[in-house]
């Protein structure tokens, strides 16, 4: 491989960089994909608990 200044440069092993790039791609997207799923589960649980509390309040004799 020839550098811009015309001197030969040693070529780095490329496979670790390719593997690293794909690992970064999948890891970031996996974290991104998990986030709304986890948030939805948490929110639904909270809202259901709130709904149940409101239901119990309505059932309670005054």
């Amino acid at each position: 491989m020839i550098a811009i200044d015309g001197l030969p440069v040693e070529r780095l092993p490329q496979l670790p960089f390719v593997i690293g790039a794909y690992a970064a791609f999948f890891l970031v997207l996996l974290l991104d994909a998990l986030q709304p799923w986890l948030a939805s589960r948490r929110l639904r649980r909270e809202l259901r608990a709130r709904l149940a509390r409101a239901g119990r309040r309505e059932e309670r004799p005054r």
């Binding site: 550098a3 970064a24 791609f25």
Partner: protein, 249 residues
């Protein structure tokens, strides 16, 4: 035309949007996974190595589509932000903000994979080149939108403030796009344009398939996040109560 307008108008209703988005999401995810499998299989196993870059050219099958997505997502957010500010619809406000984490993820991938491509190709992970720096600014803008939205308690005020920032940040898109032409940069100019491409079809096709897959992934992630945000902002409404009771029954 009138039919389209009526359909769009109907989609501005949170329960309708929630239901339609829920119906679209599995299709988007399936197309993203199918496109990703084909594009990556093609790019990693069948596409040739580059005569100069060698095997590291395979990084570009994830780097370039991610870079395109980082710009596309901001443009999509700007469209939603404009609608949110002009017509003040809740769905548009949610859509404008919900895309920001996905955009930040793609921008981070662009910077990470670009650095990992740059080291064996340029001999360095990073240079303060106009393209790289403006892309880094885009990441900060995405983080700024997320931070601003979280900092304001009232969700509608938060969405409107974030929408203003999104529209201001739009200035950065032409800077990123034309940085390689306006300044002397280490980053090469665009190889794929609307008018044609300088890439051989054996490398271009897997790239385009990956570009389509990332777009479907974005649609899926965008709708998923928007649905959660809508559920949170509309949590006291009757339709959310019915939805939760229906899911429990």
């Amino acid at each position: 035309m009138k039919g389209w307008l009526t359909a769009i108008h109907r989609l501005a209703s949170p329960p309708v949007f929630y239901r339609v988005a829920g119906g679209l999401m599995p299709w988007c995810l399936a197309l993203a996974l199918l496109g990703g499998a084909i594009g990556l299989g093609w790019g990693l196993l069948y596409a040739p190595a580059d005569y100069l870059q060698g095997e590291s050219v395979r990084i570009l099958y994830v780097h370039v589509p991610s870079a395109w997505m980082s710009l596309t997502i901001w443009a999509a957010m700007a469209g939603a932000a404009l609608v949110a500010l002009v017509w003040r619809t809740k769905v548009a406000e949610v859509l404008a903000v919900a895309a920001a984490p996905v955009g930040a993820a793609f921008t981070a991938i662009t910077l990470l994979t670009g650095a990992l491509w740059g080291r064996p190709t340029w001999g360095t992970y990073w240079v303060w080149d106009a393209r790289l720096t403006s892309e880094l600014v885009l990441l900060f803008l995405y983080l700024g939108v997320i931070g601003l939205h979280r900092a304001i308690e009232d969700p509608r005020r938060a969405a409107r403030a974030a929408s203003v920032l999104i529209l201001i940040g739009l200035v950065n898109l032409p800077i990123i796009r034309y940085s390689v032409e306006w300044w002397s940069t280490l980053h090469q100019p665009a190889s794929v344009r609307l008018t044609g491409s300088s890439i051989h079809p054996s490398m271009l096709w897997p790239l385009l398939v990956m570009a389509a897959a990332t777009k479907f992934y974005f649609l899926w992630a965008w709708l998923a996040r928007a649905r959660v945000m809508l559920l949170a902002t509309e949590s006291h409404k009757q339709w959310v109560r019915e939805l939760l009771e229906g899911a429990r029954a």
